[in-house]
């Protein structure tokens, strides 16, 4: 018994090392791509910042769908909670950007707790429907409370004070982009640690077999609820970043469409890998920017065809294709 356990640790060690190297390479390439975006598209920094904000949303969906196996079509509720919380705080005089991000994260986490408490009561289809109903309720509430949220006109006129008192949020969005990129990196590294921790392992175990995890003595509901809170914080930060960079919070940030699109991005990139979430977001939004400028309806046809193709040809998403081609599979990270 002891022998096999030892053999296990011995064989696990080099794999962990190679994964560690892979992560360093991955993070370096994110920085490199981010910097490349900054130098190559100086006129489109607003779009790039938007991509980062949505990438945070997609990462948060990945935590729930990819790591916990809870299907959701309502994640934009958490994104919108963060965006509106940051926006309302900003209008009421809290203009320090770091504080706004923290407010967004806290609001997202709180919304995540509420959403998780409701959604985890059901399973399968009912769960999916609950998530849709929740995001629609948030949407109607934001629309209705127009005294606070601006209703369908959106919450405009956010005047954010300079970052650290030095870097102004200028018209070109340089400060917002760099702040967003830094935020994305910090969140990404933090999530890497979280999903590799025993807690992340437990979540993946629940995804595969909740009954067995329960039989082993772990409590399923609190673990999933914790992941919902973390996911909400990430999505809320994304929302706050979007609010800070565009200085407007619109109703579309709590829409079913945004939730569905974000889920599509995740599946395109690949479920259950953090890189997949980033790859999917960049490819989807890049294409959208190009094609929908020509005709938004062509874009819908293309997304539809792309979705069907991914489901039929590459159920694991694009990142699984990359792994297949490179042949260096070291287990799902």
């Amino acid at each position: 018994m002891q022998l096999t356990a030892q053999a296990g640790t011995v064989s696990a060690a080099p794999r962990a090392k190679s994964l560690w190297w892979r992560d360093v390479i991955g993070i370096v390439s994110i920085i490199a791509l981010g910097a490349a975006g900054y130098w190559l598209f100086p006129d489109n920094l607003a779009l790039l910042t938007r991509i980062i904000a949505v990438a945070l949303l997609v990462l948060s969906i990945d935590l729930i769908v990819g790591y916990c196996g809870v299907a959701t079509l309502g994640q934009a509720a958490l994104f919108g909670a963060g965006a509106y919380a940051a926006g309302i705080a900003c209008v009421n005089g809290v203009t320090e950007p770091m504080t706004l991000l923290a407010i967004g994260a806290a609001a997202g986490a709180a919304a995540g707790l509420v959403m998780g408490t409701i959604m985890l009561r059901a399973h399968g289809l009912a769960q999916l429907v609950l998530s849709i109903a929740i995001v629609q309720l948030f949407h109607e509430a934001a629309n209705k409370a127009s005294a606070i949220t601006g209703g369908s006109d959106g919450l405009a006129g956010l005047m954010v004070s300079p970052l650290f008192g030095i870097f102004e949020f200028d018209l070109w969005g340089k400060t917002a982009y760099i702040m967003g990129l830094a935020l994305l990196l910090i969140v990404f590294v933090a999530l890497k640690f979280i999903v590799a921790s025993p807690f992340g392992m437990l979540c993946r175990g629940i995804k595969q077999d909740p009954v067995r995890i329960r039989a082993m003595g772990a409590f399923v509901f609190p673990v999933l609820l914790k992941m919902f809170a973390i996911s909400g914080a990430v999505a809320g930060m994304g929302g706050a970043l979007a609010a800070i960079s565009t200085q407007v919070v619109g109703l579309d940030s709590v829409s079913f469409e945004l939730s569905a699109n974000a889920l599509v991005m995740l599946v395109l990139g690949g479920l259950g890998t953090l890189y997949g979430a980033l790859i999917g977001t960049v490819i989807f939004m890049g294409f959208e920017h190009v094609v929908s400028a020509i005709n938004p309806f062509h874009w819908m046809t293309m997304v539809g065809a792309l979705l069907i193709a991914v489901v039929l040809a590459a159920p694991g998403g694009l990142s699984s294709l990359v792994e297949k081609v490179s042949g260096s599979r070291g287990g799902k990270a």
């Binding site: 849709i132 929740i134 309806f297």
Partner: protein
């Protein structure tokens, strides 16, 4: 009292439209275990065919309905054969994605051919005039819709409970592998019930065009509503779908009458409440 009866008749008509469209989805989800989010897209296709037949070709309303149903089923056959058959038995997420993809394609293609404007289906004289039903006058079309709903519910009940096809259908729902072994041709049962489901969606899309106007975003806009109705009713249950449609139709219509500024707020609040109380829907089977 007047208001209550008014709301009740409108809610009944709206609920029946929901029922005719959703019962097909309920069948596909209960029987084939496919979460077909593209169901609304088929209703929309039918609406376009009917609109084209009645408005541009000048055919009668009944002919337009017939053409719409047949045309939509013909369009759905290759989709069933090449796309849906691959996702029978897949995880829900896969099915959701595939069918959202089909919905997006349908929206894009429809818009390319017909443009983004609203399409109307002209009603015949007999259905467009008001009828006095005692406490108020109501458009004859609404009575027609209610009658259609009642006929569909009765017909399906007869089909499923009293015919030999219904027996095979129920056997396949309960245990597909076992009924296959007993000589039921489950593939045929699947194909026929898929066609029935699509046909009902088509019928609902055409007769319900007054409530749910035909435009390219139809498929996406009401997709959520259809899905909600089915999961509230419990997939695969006719009676459950009837109850769900009436309850949700009532909640939605009442909300719109009394507090129009709240929009869909009450609808979704009711949905959350119901799903929390009945996680499998009103009359869903334990899986």
């Amino acid at each position: 009292m007047q208001t209550v009866l008014s709301i009740a008749t409108d809610a009944l008509a709206f609920g029946m439209v929901l029922f005719i469209i959703c019962i097909g989805l309920s069948l596909t989800m209960g029987l084939m275990r496919v979460v077909n989010l593209a169901h609304g897209a088929f209703a929309m296709i039918a609406g376009y065919i009917a609109s084209y037949a009645a408005r541009d070709l000048g055919l009668g309303y009944a002919v337009a309905i017939f053409l719409a149903i047949v045309g939509t089923i013909i369009i759905s056959i290759p989709l069933e054969r090449f796309l849906y058959r691959r996702i029978y038995g897949s995880p829900e997420l896969t099915q959701v994605l595939m069918t959202i993809g089909i919905t997006f394609c349908v929206i894009g293609i429809t818009n390319y051919f017909f443009g983004p404007t609203l399409k109307t289906i002209p009603l015949p004289q007999a259905l467009s005039q008001p009828v006095d039903i005692g406490f108020r006058t109501i458009a004859a079309h609404r009575l027609f819709v209610i009658a259609c709903g009642a006929v569909v519910a009765g017909g399906l009940w007869y089909l499923i409970e009293r015919t030999s096809f219904g027996i095979k259908l129920r056997a396949t729902v309960d245990n597909a592998a076992m009924s296959d072994a007993l000589g039921v041709r489950t593939q045929v049962v699947y194909a026929v019930s898929f066609a029935i489901a699509i046909g009902l969606a088509a019928l609902g899309g055409v007769v319900g065009a007054e409530f749910l106007p035909i435009e390219p975003y139809y498929a996406l806009r009401y997709m959520v509503m259809f899905l909600v109705v089915v999961s509230v009713g419990g997939a695969g249950s006719i009676l459950g779908a009837v109850i769900a449609c009436l309850v949700l139709g009532l909640v939605d219509t009442t909300g719109r009458y009394l507090m129009p500024e709240f929009g869909n707020f009450f609808f979704y609040a009711a949905v959350i409440l119901i799903v929390c109380l009945f996680p499998r829907g009103f009359l869903g089977r334990a899986q």
